[in-house]
Symmetry: C2
Subunit: 109 residues, 2 copies
DNA sequence: ACTATGTTGTAGATAATCTAGGTATGGGTA
DNA sequence: TACCCATACCTAGATTATCTACAACATAGT
């Protein structure tokens, strides 16, 4: 497939923050996890992923640290910060608000 | 208000097509209607609305015709075409697919 | 004459995502 | 050894949707 969007614009930050909520992960694993939990519907391209991670780190919502990955290589593990947790709540609320509003229109008789 | 997005990027076409489904309307009315049905959550700016309408017309999904509006002025009424109805179905399915996938992530324990 | 509302429109900025590359390491296999 | 594949990071440039901020005009009401 390919044509039908891999992501909904504006939701990637939310997806990443949410994925990091339980535990720190490196970028590659974040993308795999989003893909897996979404039943392969959401595909996070690397050209979207890494800029997003840098954006989020710059905002102070996540913090990266080089560590050894499960496979024995160096990988950058990102952890949610306190500000990141607040941001996650805000973005979650905003998503719920907007998607509900859209559904009011879309699922009209 | 203002900062939190007025729209989710990529959904405006869907909203417009859906709004035109029951009957032809002019742009101004489309925007008002989306705003109203969404409980004032979705705000369609004019700078988003008119380019979107022209886009949709160029794609052949809607067709515009100048007519007299309820207030007695000239307004461009847009009607859904057959192709537009098909497009509406496709975009609706895609939205449902993607938003469901996002919700799998967002509403995880 | 002025103002508020309806109605259409455009130009330019902003920003997120995608395409398409590149680099490097380690494991497995021929 | 050589080779390939999966993992893991990265960036540059293109694309595209939306937003900000205008301009223009009509009608109705004060």
């Amino acid at each position: 497939m390919g044509k039908p969007n891999d992501l909904v614009q504006g939701t990637l930050d939310l997806l990443i923050l949410k994925t990091l909520r339980p535990e720190a992960m490196h970028g590659w694993a974040i993308a795999k996890r989003i893909q897996q939990i979404s039943g392969e519907v959401l595909q996070v391209q690397q050209g979207s992923l890494y800029p997003a991670l840098h954006r989020l780190e710059q905002q102070g919502w996540i913090r990266g640290k080089w560590q050894e990955s499960e496979t024995g290589r160096q990988a950058k593990f990102y952890a949610l910060t306190a500000a990141g947790r607040k941001q996650l709540e805000a973005e979650t609320a905003n998503w719920n608000r907007l998607s509900a509003a859209i559904n009011l229109i879309v699922s009209e008789a």
